[in-house]
C-alpha cells in the first residue's frame, strides 16, 4: 500500500493525544488513591489541552486524505457496518470529553457529586475522566479496525493491528506526559516515565509479533486464482495502461526493498530502545530535557512505524498490476 502522510499524521497524533489523556486520568486516579501527591487542577487542564490540540491536529490532517472534505459529515451515517464511520463518530466524542475533562479541572468543578463506599468522592472530573477513558479505548479500536478489518490485506487483518495501535499510542502519550511533567519540573515524571517504558515494551512485544507473523505470510490469492488459469508460469504482459493508473498509485509504495528494510530498522530503533534508554538516563540524572527528547524521538519513530505498516501491506489487486508492458 502507498503510505499517505495525512493518515500517518492522523493515527500517530490522535494516538499520542488519547495516550496523554489516559495518562492524565491515570495520574488523577493514583492521586485519589494517595499513591501519588495530588496535583493542581491546572496540571490536568493544561495536559488535557495539549491532548485536545493533538486530537484536533490529527483530525485536520485526516481531511487532507479526503477528496471531498466538505462532505465529511456524511461519513457518520454508516456506523452499523463501517469502522471508518465509527471512528468519525467516536473521535469528536473523545475530543468533547477531553475538552470537558480539562474544562472541569480548569473551572474547579471538583465538588463531590456523590460518594462510593467510605472514601471515594466522585466529582465531575472523575466521571468525565472515566467516560473519556472508555471513549479513548473505543477510538483506538475503531482506528485500528479500519485497517484490521480489511480482510484482503492479510498483513493488517489480525488482532495485533489493534494491540499495536493501542500500546504504541498509549506509550507515546505517557511519554509525552513524562515530557510535560519534566518541562514544568513536576515530580510525576518518574511515574509517567515508568508507565511509558512499560507500554513501550508491551508495544515492542506486539509489534515484533506482528513482524514475525507477516514474515511468514501465506497469501490466499495468487495470479492463478486472479485470472482463473491453472498454470504455474503466468507472466503479465500488459495491464491496460502504460502511464499507470489509480491502481498503481494507491496500492504500491514504489520504494526499493532496501528502503523498506531501512525504515523498519529505523522505527525499531527509534520507537523502542532509544526512548527507554533516555527515560532511564533522565531518571538517573533528573534531567528536565531528556524526557522531551525521548518523546520527540519516539514520535518520529512512530511515523516511520506507520509508514512501514502501510508499505509492508500487499493488496491482492496488485496481482493484476505486475508489469506495464
Amino acid at each position: 500500500m502507498h503510505p499517505t502522510f495525512s493518515v500517518i499524521f492522523l493515527t500517530t497524533l490522535i494516538g499520542a493525544g488519547q495516550g496523554l489523556f489516559l495518562a492524565m486520568v491515570t495520574g488523577q486516579l493514583y492521586a485519589i488513591a494517595r499513591f501519588l501527591p495530588a496535583q493542581t487542577d491546572q496540571f490536568y487542564a493544561i495536559g488535557s489541552l495539549v491532548a485536545l490540540v493533538l486530537l484536533v491536529t490529527g483530525l485536520l490532517a485526516s481531511f487532507f486524505h479526503l477528496g471531498h472534505p466538505e462532505r465529511a459529515w456524511r461519513a457518520a451515517t454508516k456506523w452499523r457496518t463501517s469502522w471508518l464511520s465509527r471512528e468519525v463518530i467516536v473521535l469528536p466524542i473523545v475530543m468533547f470529553l477531553v475538552f470537558a475533562y480539562g474544562a472541569a479541572h480548569w473551572l474547579g468543578l471538583t465538588m463531590p457529586l456523590f460518594r462510593v463506599g467510605e472514601s471515594l468522592q466522585v466529582d465531575a472530573t472523575l466521571l468525565l475522566g472515566l467516560f473519556g477513558t472508555i471513549a479513548s479505548f473505543a477510538l483506538f479500536v475503531c482506528t485500528a479496525m479500519i485497517y484490521g478489518g480489511v480482510r484482503f490485506i492479510q498483513e493488517w487483518h489480525t488482532p495485533l493491528t489493534v494491540t499495536n495501535f493501542l500500546f504504541l499510542g498509549a506509550a507515546s502519550g505517557f511519554m509525552l506526559a513524562a515530557a510535560y511533567s519534566a518541562y514544568i519540573s513536576n515530580p510525576l515524571v518518574t511515574f509517567f516515565g515508568t508507565w511509558a517504558v512499560i507500554l513501550t515494551l508491551t508495544g515492542l512485544a506486539s509489534r515484533s509479533a506482528h513482524l514475525v507473523r507477516n514474515a511468514q505470510m501465506k497469501y490466499k490469492s495468487t495470479v492463478q486464482t486472479a485470472i482463473g488459469v491453472r498454470h504455474t508460469v503466468i507472466a503479465q504482459k500488459a495491464q491496460g495502461a502504460t502511464g499507470g493508473s489509480f491502481n498503481t498509485r494507491e496500492f504500491f509504495h514504489g520504494q526499493k526493498q532496501t528502503t523498506i528494510e531501512t525504515v523498519r530498522l529505523l522505527f525499531m530503533v527509534l520507537v523502542f530502545p532509544i526512548p527507554i534508554l533516555l527515560i532511564g538516563a533522565a531518571y538517573i540524572t533528573s534531567s528536565p530535557t531528556l524526557p522531551i527528547l525521548a518523546f520527540v524521538i519516539q514520535y518520529v519513530g512512530l511515523m516511520a512505524e506507520r509508514w512501514s505498516f502501510f508499505a509492508e501491506a500487499k493488496h491482492p489487486q496488485n496481482l493484476y498490476y505486475q508489469s506495464v508492458a
Binding site: 461519513a75 454508516k78 502504460t242 489509480f246
Partner: protein, 240 residues
C-alpha cells in the same frame, strides 16, 4: 431476484480493446460527468477507466499462449466494498444487483478501493470521487432504447461477441446457460465475494485421429489388385 452481470469468454477475446474505448466513450459523455484523464496526449497518459483489457502470457516459450483478460467491476453478490463505505455512497441496487457509487455522496476516502480485492474501483483525480463500472446503468434502464441497444456499451462493441450480458439468477438466460454449459468460473473464489461476472475458460480445439480412421476398412477408393496365388488351395481346386 435479478442479478445483472457480464460473462466474458476468454476463448474468444482477441484483446482488441474495443470494449475499453467504447466504455470510455459512453461513460465519459454521460450525465455523470467525464472520466477524467491526465496527460492524455503526453508521455505518461493516465486516467479513469471502468474497464481494462490486460494481457497475460501462460507457459514458457515455445509452449505459451496469450490470454487477453478484460477486467471490470464484477458486481459481487456479497460486495465487500459496500459495507465499508462510511457515507453509504457505495450501494448495491436491490432491483438488479448492480453495485453503484453515488457521486454526490462520495467523500473520496478511497476506503472502498482497499476493500475490493480485484482493483475494480478507480478514483477520478479530477472529480475526486470513486468510480467504477455501472454496467451502463443509464443505457440498460433507458426504456426509450430498443431491446437490442439496452445493453452495456462494451457488450455492443465487442466484435467477437466475447461479452454476454444478462441475469445470472435466471437459469434459462443466455448467461446462465453459458456459465453452466461452458465451464464459467469466478475470479478469486477464495474471498467468498461471490462475483456475479463470470469468465468462460480458454478451450483448446484438438482433433483426435486414430490410425483406423486414416485407413477405412470399407474404403471405396481402395485399389483392387488381381490376387497372386502361391500354390495354396483355391476354389478352382475344388473337385465337384
Amino acid at each position: 431476484m435479478t442479478q445483472l452481470a457480464l460473462v466474458i469468454d476468454l476463448n474468444v477475446c482477441v484483446g482488441c480493446h474495443a470494449c475499453v474505448t467504447s466504455c470510455k466513450e459512453w461513460n465519459t459523455s454521460g450525465w455523470a460527468g467525464p472520466l477524467a484523464d491526465q496527460n492524455p496526449y503526453d508521455g505518461s497518459p493516465t486516467g479513469t477507466f471502468f474497464n481494462r483489457v490486460q494481457t497475460f502470457e501462460v507457459g514458457k516459450f515455445p509452449r505459451t499462449e496469450t490470454v487477453h483478460f478484460p477486467k471490470s467491476c464484477l458486481h459481487c453478490e456479497e460486495p465487500p466494498c459496500v459495507p465499508v463505505c462510511p457515507t453509504g455512497a457505495s450501494y448495491k441496487r436491490p432491483d438488479n444487483g448492480i453495485v453503484l457509487v453515488d457521486y454526490d455522496k462520495c467523500i473520496g476516502c478511497k476506503y472502498c478501493s482497499w476493500a475490493c480485492p480485484y482493483g475494480a474501483r478507480e478514483l477520478d483525480e479530477l472529480q475526486q470521487v470513486m468510480k467504477k463500472c455501472t454496467l451502463c446503468i443509464d443505457r440498460i434502464t433507458d426504456a426509450k432504447l430498443s431491446d437490442r441497444d439496452r445493453k452495456p456499451s462494451c457488450v455492443l462493441a465487442c466484435p467477437a461477441s466475447a461479452r454476454l450480458f444478462g441475469d445470472v439468477h435466471d437459469p434459462d438466460s443466455e448467461v446462465s446457460i453459458a456459465i453452466r454449459e461452458r465451464g464459467g468460473y469466478q475470479l478469486m473464489p477464495e474471498w467468498s465475494t461471490k462475483p456475479s461476472n463470470h469468465y468462460l475458460p480458454r478451450r483448446k480445439t484438438v482433433m483426435h485421429i486414430g490410425q483406423d480412421e486414416l485407413t477405412r476398412v470399407d474404403n471405396p477408393l481402395r485399389k483392387e489388385d488381381l490376387t497372386t496365388y502361391t500354390g495354396e488351395e483355391t476354389l478352382d481346386d475344388v473337385a465337384w
